[in-house]
């Protein structure tokens, strides 16, 4: 009675391995290498307390006499050697990079999450409901887009800093950073999701759901959202690199993570003070770590965009 038999069942793993997506990954060396780099860096950051020779945030483990030790050489006074040298306070650069990357990655992920939740929600509402809801949301987005994201983030950061009591400032700094970057980055998500929602909305399955009698909320959540997630994933990846750079920029400008809990940006700021006096490693290695992180995430995002784009398949 049925027309043609459906293909024979395969195990979930087998199907995943044979999917177009996995195939495209296996044939993209750039994607393989960059995902490897990202994975190693994330693992190193997560496992920092286990890997790092010192805890750079614990003054008890620091020896000021170790200051300015060049990478790989023994210190003239204490005889200690450090893989990547030390900074002015005798903090091991390798350890500060691991701990700094933790903060950079955490702020990056959290900020992108926040931006994604806000952007996807507003984009769905704007695209599906249309009318004045759409006008208001998209005009706000347009206005925000006329300012550089870093300016918006600095504005939010400044306001938040102004209203938090001074004794909490250092503790709150990271959360304020997340809020500032997240709020400056939602526009991208909102615009893309709105566009994709407009496309999906006109498809017959959405009409079918409407005729069945589903509520607009259920249609947005169960029908449209799963079908607009592909571009969201791509933007989220590229936004992650941007958020990490934004965090580094803010910290470099001195408005981000405090020197007691330095992120990669803070480390670079500290390092550039010594750049012209010959202690190049204090700047160079944190900058290299930031470069590797941002570049490989970006390359991964580029590949993802091509792999998920049906027109390029």
């Amino acid at each position: 009675m049925s027309d043609t038999p459906a293909p024979a069942p395969q195990s979930r793993l087998r199907r995943a391995w044979n999917s177009d997506f996995a195939w495209s990954f296996r044939h993209a060396p750039v994607a393989i290498i960059s995902s490897f780099v990202v994975l190693v860096l994330i693992l190193a950051a997560v496992l920092a307390p286990l890997i790092a020779p010192h805890d750079p945030f614990n003054p008890a483990t620091l020896n000021l006499m170790n200051g300015f030790t060049p990478p790989g050489q023994a210190n003239a006074f204490t005889g200690d050697t450090f893989l990547l040298g030390t900074d002015d306070q005798g903090r091991d650069v390798f350890s500060t990079i691991l701990y700094g990357m933790r903060i950079s990655l955490f702020v990056g992920f959290a900020a992108v999450m926040l931006a994604m939740v806000i952007g996807v929600t507003l984009g769905l509402l704007a695209g599906y409901l249309g009318g004045w809801v759409e006008s208001i949301i998209m005009r706000v987005a347009d206005v925000q887009l006329t300012f550089p994201a870093i300016l918006v983030a600095m504005l939010i950061f400044g306001i938040a800093k102004g209203i938090t009591p001074p004794e909490y400032r250092d503790q709150m700094a990271i959360w304020v950073l997340i809020l500032a970057i997240g709020l400056s980055d939602w526009v991208q998500f909102a615009r893309v999701v709105r566009g994709a929602t407009l496309v999906e909305k006109s498809k017959e399955y959405v009409q079918a759901a409407r005729l069945i009698g589903r509520s607009p909320f259920a249609i947005m959540l169960r029908h449209i959202l799963p079908n607009v997630l592909n571009p969201v994933l791509v933007i989220a990846t590229i936004s992650l690199a941007l958020a990490i750079i934004a965090e580094a920029t803010l910290s470099f400008l001195g408005v981000g993570a405090p020197p007691t809990k330095p992120s990669l940006g803070t480390l670079i700021r500290i390092g550039q003070e010594f750049m012209f006096s010959g202690e190049w490693w204090i700047l160079f290695f944190p900058a290299l770590a930031l470069l590797a992180l941002a570049l490989s995430i970006n390359l991964l995002g580029d590949w993802l965009r091509d792999a998920l784009n049906p027109r390029l398949r």
């Binding site: 027309d3 009409q207 759901a209 079908n227």
Partner: protein, 335 residues
Amino acid sequence: MADPILSIRDVSVSFDVRPQGTWPWTPSLKLHAVSKLSVDLMPGETLGLVGESGSGKSTLARAVIGTIPSSGGQIIYEGRDLATMTAQETRRHRRDVQMVFQDPLAALNPRMTVGDIIAEPLITHEPDTPRKEVKARVAELMEKVGLLPNLINRYPHEFSGGQCQRIGIARALIVKPKLLICDEPVSALDVSVQAQVVNLLKDLQAEMGLSMIFIAHDLSVVKHISNRIMVMYLGCPMEVGPAKAITAEPRHPYTQALISSVPIPDPVLEAARERPVLEGDLPSPLSPPSGCVFRTRCPKAQPSCAEARPGMDKVAPDRFVACPFQEVEKVLADA
């Protein structure tokens, strides 16, 4: 005679259309998709709607479901006017009237499994149904429409067009509707599969006592499944009557042209027959012709046709034709 399950009285549907690039204060144009159309549907009966694309068939169907408001007349479902229904009645109406769509694959969410798709109306209208029962009902329906229940976790793109349409039918039937609206359910399918789906619909209709509105632009399919046929042109009814009578003896010039466009599966008869060919295109529904809307393409048009829209004349029991110049034309063989 029993009361009709659905009666459509003088229903018009029009849309406001704003041409691109006009000022906000210029008045918008009115597009008349359906104008002053009346028809009744008895319980268990199938009404075929036939007409070219743009003749208002789908709009009429959507007005009956209630997703497009009618701008005039009444749509009465089980004695209640759609426009004045309470929220509770509207919910029941939404449940009782289900629809099967034209493009079987596009009508299914590509990210949902077949089981979730079929269960969706049930979950929407009876949210308290226990999961086990939902699963049992889905399996029962899948079997009924000729799908193996072990395909329940597959995604729509893994199925062929005919199978997708079976999924669409199962989805429509799971809440036990009373009226099923099929909007060109087979025009996107292969001819051999068309027959299977049409026969499936016919069987299910008999089994569940469904009333059906069957929309198609292919007369031979409609003839096979319908008790009565209504021929539409530019939102207006041209001819209504029993399926056999209409296909064997079309009276309206438009119906005659439509029927003559169906090829006869016999090369000798096909070559020998004379067909009235329609010239030109469907006029714009933004400014329909005055009087009879068909007069601009009608081979029998008279000056008087432009004056007033012809009423539906009763020419036989249960047979109405909107043309004063009709003549019976016997159709060759079995068109």
